[in-house]
Subunit: 312 residues, 3 copies
Amino acid sequence: MKHYTSINDIDNIHTWIEEAKALKENPLQGIELGKNKTLGLLFFNSSLRTRLSTQKAALNLGMNPIVMNVSGDAWGIEFGDGTVMNGSTAEHIKEAAAVISQYCDIIAVRAFPSLTDRALDESEYVLESFKKFASVPVISMESATGHPLQGLTDAITIAEHAKVSKPKVVLSWAPHVKALPHAVANSFTQAMRKMDVEFVIANPEGYNLNPVITGDTPIYHNQEDAFKDADFVYTKNWSSYEDYGLVDNIDPEWMITKEKIGEAKFMHCLPVRRNLVVEDAVLDSDSSLVIQQANNRTFAAQLVLKKILENL
Amino acid sequence: MKHYTSINDIDNIHTWIEEAKALKENPLQGIELGKNKTLGLLFFNSSLRTRLSTQKAALNLGMNPIVMNVSGDAWGIEFGDGTVMNGSTAEHIKEAAAVISQYCDIIAVRAFPSLTDRALDESEYVLESFKKFASVPVISMESATGHPLQGLTDAITIAEHAKVSKPKVVLSWAPHVKALPHAVANSFTQAMRKMDVEFVIANPEGYNLNPVITGDTPIYHNQEDAFKDADFVYTKNWSSYEDYGLVDNIDPEWMITKEKIGEAKFMHCLPVRRNLVVEDAVLDSDSSLVIQQANNRTFAAQLVLKKILENL
Amino acid sequence: MKHYTSINDIDNIHTWIEEAKALKENPLQGIELGKNKTLGLLFFNSSLRTRLSTQKAALNLGMNPIVMNVSGDAWGIEFGDGTVMNGSTAEHIKEAAAVISQYCDIIAVRAFPSLTDRALDESEYVLESFKKFASVPVISMESATGHPLQGLTDAITIAEHAKVSKPKVVLSWAPHVKALPHAVANSFTQAMRKMDVEFVIANPEGYNLNPVITGDTPIYHNQEDAFKDADFVYTKNWSSYEDYGLVDNIDPEWMITKEKIGEAKFMHCLPVRRNLVVEDAVLDSDSSLVIQQANNRTFAAQLVLKKILENL
């Protein structure tokens, strides 16, 4: 593995989960591995968990993290090929990626989708440009269509908390007031399809995810049916994929409640809007794994960094 | 001591001052204490001294500081209980504080008051929420009603520069064009009431501080009377506490001048507006201790971090 | 050398180049030199290369870099002498510089010119105020009239790539849509005048640089004539110096093309606007040294830091 930009970069999710759990047991075991190595964290968008946990992961490996908010700190970046740059962008990704590669041993990038131009978002032009023009490994800290550090985290968390050999995992859409990306849902779906779980998705009509990603995963438009005998209910809002970026359903009937999930564990990548996506009673109960998930972000990132460092 | 969010968290100010002076003599004596420990610095508001000195203090203890501007870098945080989060806030403090606690061994927070809603500000909902929902120690880097790192700094500075056993210390209001918080004045008052000093306050009518904090401290509405035989004149503007947040007095007669303070030492927490709060002649003279105060910010923060680290 | 704020601070550019090349061979040779020392990086303006490479340089020397975006993170700084500070600035440089000096062993500052008031810009009031009021060494990370870390970088790069003993180096203006500073062009000119090169400048009429800086350097208003037998073509846009800050020429005839430069190596400080300043065919060819230049930013900064640290 050179880059880590998709759940598909995981060769064996079972091995990875075991390795992550071992790191969690002894986070400083590899503190010499990253010594005098620099991780550049480039944010085109807001971040809390990813920002902090990826820095923490780097520090656990002895690396020096350098954080840059691309928009506020540096220059507007141009991604177009052959563009006459007489507009608002001041630096081309060809130079930016090549240059940053000389200061950083690994580059981690966060860049959200437009949610207005599906083809553009699916081209993953930001992430792919970094992969193309950087001379060092690139890690996705959430891109237009995937959030593979989150997906790996979620797989680790489910493995830790599963009480049966093949748990039932439901990915459920829930209401939200803003147009949100598909990245987390996509990576979670990809991760679950690699796991020994019974995986189903619940979402309103018109909100099916990209069929290339969901494949033969059963999709329910009735939440109650989907939740039957669930061991884990992973919740996330996303805007329409079909009518790309549309938000025409904020039906509170889809909010996650204690009653709905019953004995199942509740998961969410955070940040989560309380009493819109999920009621307080769920988050404030032992059913919720959201804090444990967030904790695992450190070890997912640390595992990815470790594998890349070992391969440098 | 678990948290440090108030001058009242200091068990013995005399001992603390001696310990801080010892740290200042040999700042790297505890460089192993914080090794592989992370300090999260969360800023809801601007900062220069606090931002830099607290990082420096952490580095002196071998800690890794991680800085985050909450508003610009991360998500709008909701503090309301039971709120239906369909507005502008994206993440609840319950999750934010619990999550950050997993990446940081100590959390330091700066959050200024609204100066429009006294009850809300006095509830210290930001700081108290962090204390309630974080699982690690919390340090105030200035909250709505207190700035205890500054207050400790000021106590150290007065102890260093006192030439008599019980110096007279005056806290004097001075004019300013904006509505400023009471935090620094409050913490200074609390610190002075723990010290062996003769402490009085001078402010215009209508600008008395919270009587719960000032207690039996003599309050003068005539600056000249208050300054008589002063050894230290600590200056700070604050908006009205009684008519909460009001600024209806920018009387230049209250500006601090060389003539007014005479032989007294001048102190201010900085930033200070020259020739509005205090004239150049004071700041540019040996009467001013403002730079020495700022230097002590490092050692106040380092002492607090050291005490918390020793207690982890 | 106490400060490094101008190419004129280089005592012997030939020795410096050799030292920088030695650092590049073995970047971690001085990793103990900066141990427990702090570099404060203060940005009044955007930065990518300078931000990252200067941090990397500090890390290579074992220093702790602390980054602050002055405008966003801290307080508006006042530089006027005797100002009644009742406006938008909250802190005077006298305090700011003195205070930061207590937290940082070296202060690096970036502050661009106004391009509206030549006398003000040429006074270098930001940088000079830091030098005057800071008690520690000051490094320019680009000021109103110079970018000496870039100039040193460029000298190193030319020395590395020169194939003849006295190469011909052309500094050529190229078109741009915004009013850009003269800093890079000035420092490059100063650096070249210290080198064993044949140095000429090409720019349109009305765009001559400050004659105090260019001295007896031949200035061509015809690019083709200037480029004859060039070994290096260093390109940069700048607004008019004579009609200060004016941009009345975006003549595409001045854009750098493959055909124009022939066998010469192309150099630019970056960021560069493609197909406005220089065509893709140049940047995407082996003629371009821009990535190598950016790499040398680390070693130029590291050399300067090393010299200052050795002198502390």
